[in-house]
């Protein structure tokens, strides 16, 4: 990837520099300890019994045979949960172990501990569960029907949220509508779920090593179910092999802890890939009807939408996912009127929750498809139409919230358009010997595509994403900074999942305190909460907390220096690695100034408060927004339905680029996941049963699927952000998907002048190559 902005001169290791990962050496040498690598003296293994049925009543559970398996040490069920029976991020609606009903394939029923994994496997097989199998509820629309029997005591509707803004009866000269669908995507982090629980002597508490996203929230839910004080549950971050939202919910934390407390000895659990597909939440499948009204020349007048998100069996974060979706339904455009209705429902599918883009991915596919349809109906170029409607700072969203952030949508669009198109000819460069380069043609080494059939298309996708937590949530992050003899030690509970906060934290300390040496403390619950590593929030939140803690230490250092050297502390500043008196120019190296001092400060950073939506979905519910544009170039074989994504060009609003190298890594990785949703990735469930829960059948983008990425960073420091920087993790994933689909539509339109609707992602070969289905969409005007 090429980033076209050259960084200016920056002190190495500080903000703005492309600093390398502090954990990089350990990671390339294999000495970095992932959670799955951890072991302890006397440790035994745990394993989970899961439901084979999407919906069934449990008549009885007989564990006696499991106890007779040699080497079995513990067998536990719902009866053995000492605290709260249920857990959940927003509402505790999910049983630690199912007792009377199972609601999805993979729901935990019992756990065992044994000397080794094989003993555990035999013990699980020996547990006899007598099920009364019920008809699963698998249709999200049916779940909304009040006549459908409830599959959960809380009912089938998890959340409903309207957004009514402006004149609900407004109409436009041009009206386009369609129904869009998004399939269920898996986060597919590479490092599988694992935990190690070590009980305290006496069994009144324990230490748990876990790969998670939110230490203190895990602790809260664990303590509730274990019947312990939160202080007695000490979490330590085990090395995390990627997360992407899938680790925000509890998976094996409580089970592992229960076994360890029961046995009074360390227990570890580790999922294999098949269990991982069942053991964590996924991206919500969604069905979204949208109708856009515009003036004849393409100015948005009103957006109407009705969307249904399939939350699967338990609530997880469905309510928050839905809030993001309904409030950002029109995308990053000025839209004076809106009538939106959204529902998140329970079904007997796998539970859904957080995944990179969190609700916005789904609506973005719909609103961007609609913008193309509108452009077509108005006879306006799709890029022009977006530019014409682009949101700016000071505009109002459909919840009535004024966007105070920097909102460079127009700049993103213009900068992306200015990026070079690929020089690769349609169908790929021929090899040196003149033969076709099959790896560059759609379908790759399948070698069935004839290069002369290949058609190229170009498409656009633009998106906005709220940053941080919304709707009145008390969102904060804590950081502790200690300066002793010129060395800074930082302590926080901010989870490092691979995104690079550990790199950024050091950069912040070096910039604020003028030091070179920064030591990072262990990431655990021995300091206040940092909130979750999600919602693109840690650069802003924990970055803000680390910066504030470092500034508090710096101010005390200035007082110390002032006292020692008889200068005015108000005149002191950090200049490079010196403390400098602005008035006289006098300076002293920070290392010398801090000799013999020991300053320690802990700070909580909070973002400005948000408010819940009112009954019409109005209110200042989000903290801030980030924006991005994507342009996709694809090659399509319309006969075989094969797609090769050739290039993604993108300009992303980053506020301020604190670590350009790290940002490009996020952009490239995010684009790969957007591509996955566009043309490859979907968890298939038939009658509630997962069909492809493994890496052979669930297709992930490989080296050869990855397109060239050309990117430019739009740097307009955001005055609302503590470091001027916005989170960068989610935007690359969000609008790359619709851009790719738009490009495929563009290619197909060139084939027969009509094209295909492609109103569902992932786009499958059959959607491309079969004769056009009767379109669910209509166009008037």
């Amino acid at each position: 990837m090429t980033v076209l902005d050259a960084p200016s001169a920056i002190r190495p290791g500080t903000l703005g520099d492309s600093v390398l990962r502090p954990d990089g050496t350990a990671k390339v040498q294999g000495s970095f300890e992932f959670c799955s690598d951890l072991n302890a003296e006397g440790c035994v293994w745990g394993a989970t019994l899961r439901s084979p049925h999407p919906y069934a009543r449990i008549r009885s559970i007989d564990v006696s045979a499991a106890w007779r398996v040699p080497g079995v040490l513990a067998v536990i069920t719902a009866d053995d949960v000492p605290g709260q029976a249920n857990y959940g991020l927003i509402v505790p609606d999910q049983p630690v172990f199912a007792a009377d009903v199972v609601r999805y394939v993979g729901e935990p029923i019992a756990a065992v501990a044994g000397d080794d994994p094989e003993v555990c496997r035999r013990a699980l097989a020996a547990i006899e569960v007598d099920y009364d199998v019920l008809e699963p509820l698998i249709d999200a629309e049916a779940a909304l029907d009040p006549n459908t029997p409830a599959i959960h005591p809380d009912g089938n509707v998890i959340s409903s949220q309207p957004v009514i803004h402006g004149d609900r009866d407004a109409t436009g000269d041009v009206v386009v509508e369609a129904t869009y669908e998004v399939g269920m995507q898996d986060q597919a982090f590479l490092g599988l779920e694992a935990a190690l629980a070590i009980p305290d002597p006496g069994g009144r508490g324990l230490e748990v090593y876990v790969a998670t996203q939110w230490m203190h929230e895990d602790r809260r839910q664990m303590a509730d179910c274990l019947g312990l004080d939160p202080e007695s549950v000490r979490l330590v971050l085990g090395g995390v092999g990627g997360a992407f939202g899938a680790r925000e919910d509890i998976s094996l934390q409580i089970h592992t802890s229960l076994l360890a407390l029961r046995l009074g000895r360390p227990v570890r659990m580790a999922y294999d890939r098949a269990e991982s597909f069942l053991g964590h939440v996924h991206r919500h499948p969604a069905t979204m009807w949208m109708r856009h009204h515009a003036t004849a020349d393409g100015q948005l007048v009103k957006v109407e939408s009705r969307m249904v998100f399939d939350g699967g069996a338990y609530a997880s974060t469905s309510e928050a996912v839905l809030l993001n979706a309904v409030t950002q339904a029109p995308g990053p455009y000025r839209c004076p009127n809106a009538v939106i209705e959204g529902h998140a429902v329970r079904t007997n599918h796998l539970p859904c929750g957080a995944m990179r883009g969190f609700g916005v991915v789904q609506v973005c596919f719909a609103h961007e498809s609609q913008m193309d349809k509108l452009a077509d109906a108005c006879g306006v170029d799709p890029w022009e139409l977006r530019l014409q409607n682009a949101m700016h700072t000071g505009d109002t969203t459909i919840t009535g919230q004024v966007v105070h952030n920097v909102a460079p949508v127009e700049e993103c669009l213009r900068a992306t358009a200015a990026l070079p198109l690929p020089d690769e000819p349609v169908g790929g460069h021929p090899r040196a010997d003149g033969s076709a380069d099959v790896m560059k043609t759609p379908g790759g080494a399948g070698r069935t595509t004839d290069a002369s059939d290949v058609v190229r298309g170009i498409g656009w996708g633009v998106s906005m994403k709220n940053l941080m937590y919304s709707a009145g949530f008390d969102d904060y992050s804590t950081a502790r900074c200690r300066l002793a003899d010129g060395v800074v030690t930082l302590k926080f509970a901010t989870v490092e999942v691979g995104q690079g906060f550990v790199t950024l934290a050091g950069q912040i300390a070096r910039s604020v305190l003028g030091v070179d040496d920064v030591v990072l403390g262990r990431i655990d619950t021995q300091v206040g909460s940092a909130g979750s590593t999600s919602a693109s929030r840690q650069t802003w939140m924990s970055g803000g907390a680390v910066a504030a803690a470092c500034r508090a230490v710096r101010d005390r250092l200035f007082l110390h220096v002032a006292e020692q050297h008889d200068v005015d502390p108000g005149q002191l500043e950090i200049d490079g690695t010196d403390v400098r008196d602005e008035a006289s120019g006098w300076r002293i190296p920070v290392v010398d100034a801090s000799a013999g001092v020991d300053i320690d400060e802990t700070v909580e950073y909070r973002h400005p408060a948000t408010e819940p939506l009112d009954e019409n979905g109005q209110g200042d519910c989000h903290v801030g927004f980030v924006f991005v544009a994507h342009r996709a170039v694809v090659d399509v074989d319309p006969e075989l339905g094969l797609v090769k994504v050739v290039q993604i060009a993108t300009a992303q609003d980053v506020g301020r680029a604190l670590n350009p190298l790290s940002i490009t890594g996020q952009i490239e990785g995010g684009v790969a996941q957007g591509l996955g949703l566009a043309v490859m990735e979907e968890i298939i469930q038939t009658d509630g049963i997962i069909r492809n829960g493994n890496f052979t059948d669930y297709l992930l983008p490989t080296f050869l699927d990855m397109p060239d990425v050309v990117a430019t960073l739009i740097e307009q420091p955001d005055p609302l952000a503590p470091l001027g920087a916005k989170g960068v993790g989610e935007p690359p994933t969000i609008s790359s998907t619709p851009a790719i689909v738009a490009a495929i539509r563009d290619a197909l339109r060139q084939v027969d002048g009509v094209g295909r609707p492609l109103d569902r992602v992932p786009v499958r070969p059959a959607d491309i190559c079969l004769p056009a289905r009767a379109s669910a969409s209509s166009t008037t005007g």
Partner: protein, 154 residues
């Protein structure tokens, strides 16, 4: 049954159940946890090691199949004096990793690729490493790292 093999230059003999996979021998019996397990369906390559100099996915082999073999894992890639292998160094320098879970497997597959083809093109690298998945990076920096390392090798 007994399996005798050399791991990172040291000879070992283990008494194993016949169904033990090579990756289990490496992680659980030899205690070398740098080799990761990402899929158990030979799809991801996180478990790649060198078997008699060639990259293999150690989850696809039984430990007995490695009897008498010379195995190198990620822990054996640095020189005796601790200097990192050029591929390791290049992954560091080019930011070829984020979470790092795929990294040991990538390093093993890439170094084996370079041993076969010391000056690969971008495309050679992609084809050669296609059996290794990374969910974080989008692969470009990994390709860059391998190309950088190939220069360092020459």
């Amino acid at each position: 049954m007994n399996v005798t093999l050399t791991i990172n230059g040291t000879a070992h003999t283990y008494d194993l159940e016949p169904r033990t996979l090579l990756v289990q021998l490496i992680r659980e019996h030899a205690g070398l946890t740098g080799t990761n397990i990402g899929c158990d369906t030979s799809s991801c390559g996180a478990c790649s090691v060198h078997l008699d100099g060639e990259a293999v996915k150690s989850c696809t082999l039984l430990a007995v199949q490695a009897d008498g073999a010379d195995v190198t894992t990620i822990e054996g890639m640095a020189s005796a004096d601790g200097t990192m292998h050029p591929v390791q160094q290049a992954f560091m320098d080019e930011h070829g990793l984020q979470c790092g879970f795929c990294t040991p497997g990538m390093v093993m597959a890439a170094s084996s690729l370079l041993a076969e083809n010391p000056s690969p093109t971008d495309e050679d690298v992609r084809i050669g490493l296609e059996g290794n998945l990374c969910r974080c990076t989008g692969y470009h920096n990994i390709v860059k790292a391998v190309l950088t390392a190939s220069g360092a090798d020459q």
